[in-house]
Amino acid sequence: MDKTIIRLDNIAKSFGNVRVIHHISFSIEAGKVYALAGENGAGKSTLCNIISGSLKPDEGTISYGDKEYSSFTIQQAKEIGIKMVHQELQILPLMNVEENIFIGEESSRRGFVNKKEMRKRSLELLEMVGLNAQPETKVAEIEIAGRQLLEIARAINHNARIIILDEPTSSLSQAEIRKFFTIIKKLKEQGVSFIFISHRLEEVFELADKIIVLKDGEKVAELNTEETNEKEVIRLMVGREYSDFYQRERKCHGDVCLELKDISGVKEGMLNNAYIPQHVSLKVEEGEVLGIAGLVGAGRTELVRMIFGEMPIGSGEIFVQGEKVQIKSSRDAIKLGMAWVTEDRKQEGLILEDTLVRNLSLPTVHKHRKAGIIDDNFLTKMSEKYIQKLKVKTTGGLQKAKNLSGGNQQKIVLGKWLSTNPKILILDEPTRGIDVGAKAEIYKLINELTAQGMAIVLISSELPEVMGMSDRLLIMYEGRVTGQLLKEEYTEERVMEYATGRKVHNE
């Protein structure tokens, strides 16, 4: 029996005169997981947007049953049962968790929403995906990882037939990912199909039945997972092989750059106190990469916020280059030679409507003026430099940030902060949504920068990354530092023990 749900034929799509998808065809069968692999900007999200009805292809057809469509509308896709978790999170921050889960699919009778039914279902879903929040919690109060879980809850809510997951795991940590994969596997058994995008190939190999490799908008291969391996996929994607990703070697040893002594956040009545960092002490030296690991919501981002003066500090001291400092806002922090690559590129990283040049030059523009007049030539050149160095896939510095693919946006955020030449660089999930090739480049960059004496704090939910790239590891659990490990001591088990609070290291 034919198990095909939908079939794409010769789908093509251009933005302006840039062709992003070249005549791609494939079918989606029931109960299978398809992984889309490809570099940043290869066209993965675009293809998924076409399937889910939010973009119209220029050419080609989509067949469903015995009907052919030139494109789906969102409503049609929904009727068929196509759900999508978008790479750029699609949430309504002012509405609560429950309203977000059910948006567009409220259970209602004659226009009146049926709150009881939805409450029951939303509690189930929250439990299922492991989102530790009440249905009435406003989404604005939830950090990015929680939002990702929320979107997942939304996608699995109704009886979907095809669920498209565009980097659903990029801000999740192991525990959530495990939980999530269990759900996927269960749904798959019930005949639900998935299109899965992730730059973490081990996830791809764990889940996918088939791997479709895209390169520059073309389908270069459709592989059965059993018959291939990571190396081949990477070669097909990038055109070259990466053998050992994490080649961290500390070359420079210097003084302590940044030191926190017993920093605690302010206990604010209504917030969930557990997540506000308490009694955190740490040191980072020149040339060192200090990793901070922890589960989602452990309070790592909040810690950076506190360091940067964007969240109140209740007690404790901060020393930069040995001197005690008062940081009232990120402006002070920047002046002290710090830079912070934020995790949420949309909210805190980019001015989406602005050009790449403007985004890249924002923190440094004040330094490049002649008699008050901005030296735009210089800024353009500087931007070109970073665009090349980070291999950003773009039509040029004048492209708007919002028109870049997710991974390329992330590179722009990184470039923006590198351009300030910081002495202390804090990277909060720096490789979120970045492809393997670019990741390798960023790791190389981390090594180069530390070799020149920069101190780096690397926060990442991806254990291999944070373990592979840091010289020392700090592990947080519910706002507290539960463990500190030296490179020689790392094992995944040990880190997870601290990260889940099963073990607490006492100095």
Binding site: S54, I74, I91, L92, G111, V113, L271
Partner: protein, 314 residues
């Protein structure tokens, strides 16, 4: 960010408590200064005076929650008033004239809505244009002069009583109750909040943003044209410069009530209280013999005090 989070959390209720607090304090002050303020007749007077503003505020609340702006309300009210007056003086029966008035409102709302959504134009300019269009047309009907000799029975809308309560107050209360239910209990309300929160997200969730926005615009204009008829009925003449302050006053009331200019947030109770607050200020000051210039200043100060007080409460 963090403070913001705190703020948002408890907004729903506290917002309104903040406003209520200000209203209470004002009432006490005004009563101390002049006890007629608290007299039943004056309280009814206040409610009656605010009724029209509240009616219009209902429509504006929906439009604003959905992330758009309707500046045309005053114009719509004015044009409806004039058209209905003209119809009435040419012998059209009252119910028919009222129906035509509402139809006109709906059409103007549709015009706003279509230009804003289908043509994807900024609603601020579209509705500004509609305002001028409507005001200009209102004056053209007579060449700029007022219309007199409306039938006596038409005065019911603005001067009549239903069970001893001014008719306009009754209409207002019914409308407020309906709107309260619609906003909090139905898809129409929920989608307004969603669309205003982020129209792209709403669209991706399969909500037909255009259809709903059209609905909000039409409803808003309907409210405005109904208000225009009440005002006309109360004045017992068709005035070509009717409702010239309606837009500013109503927008102020709605924003004061906690509806975000940028959409995604707002409440019916808030808008009602915003309108009441504005009316109480002007009534209390007039009764206490404060002249209109001081009134402007004092009400501006109270406005600022209110938003600060509300903010502190959060």
């Amino acid at each position: 960010m963090n403070d913001k989070k705190l703020m948002i959390k408890s907004k729903g209720i506290l917002n309104q408590i903040g406003l209520l607090g200000v209203i209470a304090v004002l009432c006490i002050i005004f009563t101390c200064l002049n006890s007629t303020f608290i007299a039943a007749a004056n309280l009814m007077n206040i409610v009656r005076q605010s009724a029209v503003m509240i009616i219009v505020a209902m429509g504006v609340t929906f439009v604003m929650i959905s992330g758009e702006l309707d500046l045309s309300i005053g114009g719509v009210a004015c044009l409806t008033g004039m058209v209905v007056s003209k119809l009435l003086t040419t012998g059209v029966s009252i119910p028919v004239a009222i129906l035509i008035g509402l139809l006109l409102g709906a059409l103007l709302g549709l015009f706003n809505g279509i230009l804003t959504t289908k043509f994807n134009l900024p609603s601020m300019i579209v509705t500004l244009a509609t305002m001028n269009l409507a005001n200009g047309s209102a004056s053209l009907i007579t060449g700029g002069t007022a219309i007199y000799n409306l039938p006596q029975e038409f005065e019911f809308l603005g001067r009549g009583f239903i069970f001893g309560i001014p008719a306009q107050v009754v209409f207002m209360v019914i409308l407020v109750i309906i709107c309260g239910i619609v906003l909090s209990k139905t898809l129409i309300g929920r989608y307004a909040l969603a669309i205003g929160g982020n129209a792209d997200v709403a669209k991706l969730a399969g909500i037909s943003v255009i259809k709903y926005k059209l609905l909000y615009f039409v409803f808003c204009s309907l409210c405005a044209s109904f208000a225009g008829m009440i005002l006309t009925s109360r004045l017992a003449t068709g005035q070509p410069n009717l409702a010239s302050n309606m837009m500013m006053d109503t927008l102020t009331a709605v924003v004061l009530g906690g509806t975000a200019m940028s959409g995604g947030e707002g409440s019916i109770a808030g808008s009602v209280m915003g309108a009441l607050l504005l009316t109480i200020i002007s009534n209390g000051l007039t009764i206490n013999g404060v002249n209109s210039f001081w009134q402007m200043i004092i009400s501006a100060l109270i406005l600022i005090a209110t938003i600060i007080a509300r903010r502190k409460k959060d």
